[in-house]
Amino acid sequence: MTTWQRHREARDARIEAGSRLARGKIVEASDATRLMEAVIRPGDRVCLEGDNQKQADLLSSALLAVDLAKVNDLHMVQSGVVLPEHLDLFDRGVAKKLDYAYSGPQSARIARMLFGGKIELGAVHTYLELFARYFIDLTPHVALIAAVSADRDGNLYTGPNTEDTPTVVEATAFKDGVVIAQVNEIVDRVPRVDIPADRVHFIVKAEKPFFVEPLFTRDPAAITEGQILTAMLAIKGIYAPYGVQRLNHGIGFSTAAIELLLPTYGEKLGLKGKVASHFALNPHPALIPAIESGWVQQIHSFGSEVGMDEYIRARSDVYFTGPDGSLRSNRAFCQTAGLYACDMFIGSTLQIDLQGNSSTVTTSRIAGFGGAPNMGADARGRRHPSEPWLKAGAEADPESSALLRRGRKLVVQIGETFGDKNVPLFVEKLDALTLAEKLNLELAPIMIYGDDVTHIVTEEGVANLLLCRNDHEREQAIRGVAGYTEVGRGRDRNMVERLRQRGVIRRPEDLGINPLDADRSMLAARSIKDLVRWSGGLYTPPSKFRNW
């Protein structure tokens, strides 16, 4: 007779084995490794919750300590490879295969381990793509997640950093998987129920709160005049003419500069209420002055940001908050919002080639993508019109019938022509290609494909790639804003001048930008302390950003 409930029986057996270590659902931290050995089987797909912000750090240490005879060769399916322990798992042989999305701080080590054959790489994904695969072919057998608090039944409060948890739990708990949560505290009643108890099988109380990285805090003191000029070009050359109201910002200094210029330069241009009112965005501290000046109506967030909790609580008209008053973030929904409901993505990258392909991968660093490829892509399933989307579509394809013409999402790459340590932003060949050849990958890790990029902004000007009619024009438009990099100096000067006359390239002087305005006095806040002041003392920056 065919058995149709083998997975459920297997799950029940795992829970049964784990229950011997638990009182109710609660397992002592000192038994966490034994719990892993009881519920995890060799070769399992395991989601160790960790993304670019919060980390199930206690559970990752516990997993690292397992007896290799009991647990080995795991297939890790997780958003972020961020903690050293995440890679130690592969060094020790606890895990073998990896599918992930982001690896910021571990980017150099992960590259070495890939070259050394320590990790069998599935693929580098964008967040939404990896989440999608949790429901199709990468469903976790076991999920190790992080929450702020739990009650004795197992209801979880994930707090402002809810992030990936609902998605991971949904995929695991409803497909016969086991969910183990580490919590900062066990309480009689959770402030709000983010994850219902019947989806949570074990709870481990951690000695200290889970780690959260303040990834989205940019100190205004470090913003340069070049970045201010670039930001002014973006505001006057893109935000204003397209009337971009719904958007996502990357985390670089150029976009932080834009945020800090809205209440000053943007105000001067009369753009308040016309641009930058609705965001898919983490609670960037740099946006506080624009919020306080009445620019921003609504923000949905992927995660939270350290120090922003009280400010968010006090500005619930702007942020999404729960009945307890604190932020409710959700990475999967916010990524979906960024894909379908935003008209623009603007962010920076490390390398751009002559076709406009960009990547944050270099030969020694594989940083992953996070959300950028998703935000920075045209949603082919989009059907609702909006002014910027239609205008961009018309620029790309002026000949076809308006009623049948797709719009285009504005995908803007912004940066200075020379980055950190004078490394050029523009290259003839992406390091990602060299890496793909060396590792025999089927696909080079491209963050944003050239055919999705609509504009490139540098201190030299704005290149509108929608107006380019062939590959040659496109290449020269890119060279035409590449400054004094080798790529920029290799331009065909006559062609670039013709592109400028057609408005494909626009220089600061073409947009009437006074270079003297590229001054730090133009920033609404010039330090972290200024941001605290703008927030009325509600923003409490982490200590590494305090110098007073």
């Binding site: 004078n422 540098t458 003297l516």
Partner: protein
């Protein structure tokens, strides 16, 4: 340290009446530009003291573009460079011209 000097013909005289202007700071990755209106209208000169050696070719490219874009006729630029990137140099030169073209305040 390296000293560089560039002499160019400018299309036209820089606007305004101010005789001198100064902008920027001498710091690592930055530069200070002193601009003086002391040459004949078709002339332009740039004298550079730079902390970074061996970048004459890039300086030349930056300055050719600058003269073409801003036509700074009659101006002499004295530059104290702390190894600024070419984009920073471009911005400072543009600011210097703009500053000397502004009316006296």
């Amino acid at each position: 340290m390296e000293d560089l000097s560039f002499q160019h013909r400018a299309r036209e005289r820089a606007g305004g009446t101010r005789q001198t202007a100064i902008i920027g700071v001498v710091a690592s990755g930055n530069l200070e530009v002193l601009v003086e209106r002391i040459l004949s209208d078709a002339e332009c000169r740039l004298e550079i003291k730079t902390a970074a050696v061996g970048f004459g070719e890039v300086w030349n490219a930056v300055i050719v573009d600058f003269v073409e874009r801003y036509s700074p006729g009659g101006l002499k630029f004295s530059i104290n460079d702390g190894g600024a990137r070419p984009d920073t140099v471009s911005l400072r030169l543009a600011q210097a011209v703009r500053l000397i073209e502004e009316d006296d305040q």
